[in-house]
Amino acid sequence: MSWRVFAAAAIGKSHIDANIPCQDAFAHAVVDDRLVAVVCDGAGSHALSHEGAAMVSARVVSDLSQRVGADDGAADIEAFRAIVIEVVASARDALEARALAENTALADYSCTLVGLLTHADGGFFFHIGDGLGAVRGADAADCALSLPENGEYANETYFVTGDAWQEHLRVTSIPHAIACAVLMSDGAMPFVMAKGNGALYAPFMDPVERFLSTASESDGSAALLGTLADPRTYRITSDDKTLLIALRQ
């Protein structure tokens, strides 16, 4: 059994029209059969948020991979939360250094973060702001979600770069072994999730999983990109759409 990871970020229609880059980013690694994966969504109103999303996702995955390789005690949620705080703080430090060097501000790099670390018997979500994480066990009844956190209004959320990021960091323990893990940015949620975000939307996910189960990682990721970039999605959202699916096979 090993992890196979498929991921793609498709630029949104409004970004194509306005000549703005895709502001979503993802990163993942497998260390000692443990999956580390992160999806970040750069804030639309901040000019360098695509760089923020790319830097935060890459650094958090790389730092966390090193930490869990060295420290196998991450099954305790409080210990894991402390590790995530260190790792995110370090990514923020890197952004601050960049902001100083480029004469920009930390807020210019604003992005959200939804991530996952697995272990043999389960794992943890870690999450700041919107986006969504979903996992399923070998028994389909074993499901867990990490839901988006918005303000009163649907178009308000919290960022890694915000002052109150630790208050908005949510760590959730997953109490069962994971067979399928899904992370997504908010742009993908309307068609990947069912109404009310209570579950993955089977008419989308079932054909995708069926296809990926026999595809190579590169072919599967390319097909995922084709799906996310399908013009039919323009009627659903004009936002960037990122989807990361990991299968344990």
Partner: protein, 227 residues
């Protein structure tokens, strides 16, 4: 990149999100004739424009409050998703109870937010469009204070609109936290252009995403307000 979608995937919108829009419309006697005909035509433009937009037709939720008669404000129908909205034929008569109408609109907005919350439906900040062509005839100061406070508390975005030379633009400004600067003056009777702008704005706002600043279309096709 010429990759096609994975076969057989359903790509449908399961979002349940709404953008409430309340139109508070002056139907006093001074609106009789061409102004009311143009307003009604403008509402039909709004209906068509929103229905023609796949996303806005599902997300924009409209309520009309008309005020006129014997100092009477009333809701026309109920909240409706744009796809179900049919522009009514409003009639002009009577006085201008602006305060009553705004209090009613604020109450309906809070009521609808509670409905959204209990149904688990996400929503964006409600818009209140406050149109008048005259002087308020009721005790409107208290309502203006409450409306301004609601906007300051981010509960609603208020867009006052003065129609014709008889409108009390200074008074309308007191309903907005931005004061007189927020009041737009309708150029002549360009209600159609106004509602085209409003529907274009609603298309933007109903799709607004976290961290984004909604870039509204320019209002210069219908507004004579100095920029």
């Amino acid at each position: 990149m010429n990759q096609t979608a994975i076969p057989d995937v359903a790509l449908v919108d399961n979002t349940e999100q709404r953008t409430p829009l309340v139109l508070v419309l002056d139907c006093s006697g001074s609106m009789a004739g061409a102004p009311m005909a143009q307003l009604n035509e403008g509402l039909r433009v709004l209906e068509q424009e929103l229905k023609n937009d796949a996303i806005a037709s599902k997300r924009v939720r409209i309520l009309l409050v008309e005020y006129g008669g014997m100092d009477n404000a009333q809701v026309v129908g109920d909240w409706q998703d744009a796809m179900d909205f049919t522009a009514p034929a409003l009639e002009a008569s009577g006085t201008t109870p602006t305060g009553q109408a705004v209090d009613m609109a604020l109450a309906k907005i809070e009521e609808e937010k509670q409905n959204f919350k209990s149904a688990g439906i996400a929503y964006t900040r409600p818009w209140m469009f406050l149109m008048s062509d005259g002087q308020p005839t009721d005790d409107w100061q208290g309502a203006a204070d409450r409306c301004r406070a609601a906007e300051q508390a981010n509960k609603v975005a208020v867009f006052p609109l003065a129609v014709g030379s008889g409108a009390n633009a200074d008074g309308l400004g007191q309903f907005s936290s931005k004061g007189a600067a927020a009041v737009k003056k309708l150029d002549g009777l360009k209600f159609q252009e106004l509602f085209l702008w409003l529907s274009a704005s609603m298309k933007v706002v109903s799709q607004a995403r976290p961290g984004g600043q909604a870039q509204l279309p320019a209002a210069d096709s219908w507004s004579s307000a100095p920029t």
